[in-house]
Amino acid sequence: MSAPRPEELMTIAGSRLLRDGQVVFAGVGAPLEASVLAKRLHAPSLTVVLEGGSIGPRMIPGKLPISTNEMRAQVGSTMLVGIIDLFLYAQRGCYDVGFIGAAQIDKFGNVNTSYIGDPDSPKVRLPGSGGANDIVSSCREIIVMTRHEPRRFVEQVDFVTSPGWLSGPAERERAGLHRSRPVAVITDLALLGFEPESGRLRLDALQPGATVESVVEATGFELLVPDAVGELAPPAQQELDELRRLQDGDPQAPARLQEVASAP
């Protein structure tokens, strides 16, 4: 069995943040994989909720969905519901955790998936919010998962698609965002939290192999570094095995399905 890849470190660390009995609204990609992994390992009563209308799906290893709207994301669900209703459960306060990815994130945890550069003349037009804005506005605790690169971790996002702490807790309160609370950012290098007073990102713990210096270097803004920084336990063999089985399936599965299922 090979050593854990960066994405695997990130996904496994993310899965550990989910507790049994919670309801998690997971975005496509790594958040979805982390949620499914948690349910298969330490949180059997975790309810996974996906944007396309699935409540409580059980994925087929090797056939993870590419989108959260397709049959593969619906297999074994206890409830299939309209999309507006699915989001209104969030707005009602039914979801403990909202778990999303990010193209660009700033020191207050604001997420941009809309424009790189000036929105009126963008360098890159990104795909858009999808459900991310809704998730961060309404799920009780918000976790963001993304690769740790300076181009992703910027001083200030070009566009606030999905608010984090905005410019701090006071502005967040003024904006009326009282239903949700950004709590963590998981990367392949670290677990970041937020300083309560300022709403700024803070280095809480290092992934195996990372150092404070490597994290600071990969962060495009001044990351708060407390005196004591924790260390995340390395992936257990069971975690790695189960994640790879989820992604790759059993050897008989068609090659095409496996390839797609393990795409970034």
């Binding site: 003349s121 360098k123 037009r125 795909p127 919010s129 459900g131 809704d134 506005s137 009326g176």
Partner: protein, 297 residues
């Protein structure tokens, strides 16, 4: 009243410049047969709306069939990257993409479907998305809570692909309904394509599964595999290899690649049945086998 007709006749219910919303979600139960027919009919300057928009964004932009996209996300899926031609259009003129969050997009149609001019939400608060939409902040008249009011959308036409429908338009779907109910009830004209047209008696046998009542519907078209290359719950999986080939064309040829795709799959195929012939029976049956395998799991 018998509302059955062919795709071409149904396309006649859509006028240039209309706001047209398509049901399903991304490549799940999309109304592709009808969307392709609008391209074939040469419709122009539509506002094309879907809650998550798949590769039709590029097909419509390149042909000039859509002047504007209204959605919350554009792309096929993470493995295929950000659509290159979409980027070219949207970076040249950002106003062609009216971006909403997924829920606020849906609430526009829910409001329209309730006959209300607006609905309140907690989405968009504090975001820059809010600043670039006609949504605006409001306060609850009872509690004073700061909320966002989203204006209703009652599109000219909704295109829905269903599992079955009767000649009057009573339509049923299996699996998730996505936003089909809200789209159909909000729209002024509703075109339902379906895998099969059945009798009203067959619909009445499971009346609690009917999601669109006939009185909303203007046209009924039977189109087996009408969501191809997308999926239809329980009946066929999406054809990911088809998307692969499309993205290869676009990555090598840009807008020319899109044109190449359209020439082959729309123009030369002649009609939707021709497209299915091009794909081939065995490929379609393989998609069907995969769907059955998933639903049986």
């Amino acid at each position: 009243m018998d509302k059955r007709m062919g795709l071409a006749e149904a396309a006649g219910l859509v006028a240039d410049g209309d706001t047209v919303v398509g049901g399903g979600c991304l490549y799940s139960r999309p109304p592709y047969a009808m969307l392709f027919e609008l391209l074939r009919a040469g419709r122009r300057d539509l506002v094309l709306a879907r809650n998550l928009m798949c590769y039709e964004a590029e097909l419509f932009l390149v042909r000039g069939a859509a002047a504007k996209l209204m959605t919350s996300w554009v792309g096929i899926g993470l493995p295929w990257g950000i659509p290159r031609v979409f980027r070219e259009f949207a970076e040249r003129d950002p106003s062609i993409y009216e971006e909403w969050s997924h829920l606020s997009f849906g609430l526009r149609f829910l409001a329209g479907s309730m006959g209300m001019p607006f609905l309140p939400t907690a989405s968009l608060l504090g975001s820059d998305v809010l600043k670039r939409t006609p949504a605006q902040e409001m306060r609850c008249p009872f509690t004073g809570e700061l909320l966002v009011a989203v204006p209703a959308c009652q599109p000219d036409v909704a295109l829905i692909h269903a599992h079955r429908v009767d000649p009057e338009g009573n339509a049923q779907v299996e699996g998730p309904v996505y936003m089909d109910l809200e789209f159909a009830r909000a729209a002024k004209t509703v075109i339902v394509t379906a895998e099969e047209v059945v009798s009203p008696e067959a619909i009445a046998r499971s009346a609690d599964r009917t999601v669109i009542p006939g009185f909303l519907v203007d046209a009924v078209v039977e189109v087996p595999f009408g969501s191809y290359p997308g999926e239809c719950y329980g009946l066929y999986e999406a054809d990911f290899a088809h998307f692969d080939k499309y993205v290869e064309l676009v990555n090598s040829g840009g807008a020319g690649g899109v044109e190449e795709y359209l020439r082959r799959h729309l123009d030369e195929a002649g009609d939707f049945a021709g497209l299915l012939d091009l794909v081939g029976a065995s490929a379609l049956l393989e998609q069907r086998r995969r769907a059955r395998e998933l639903v049986a799991a």
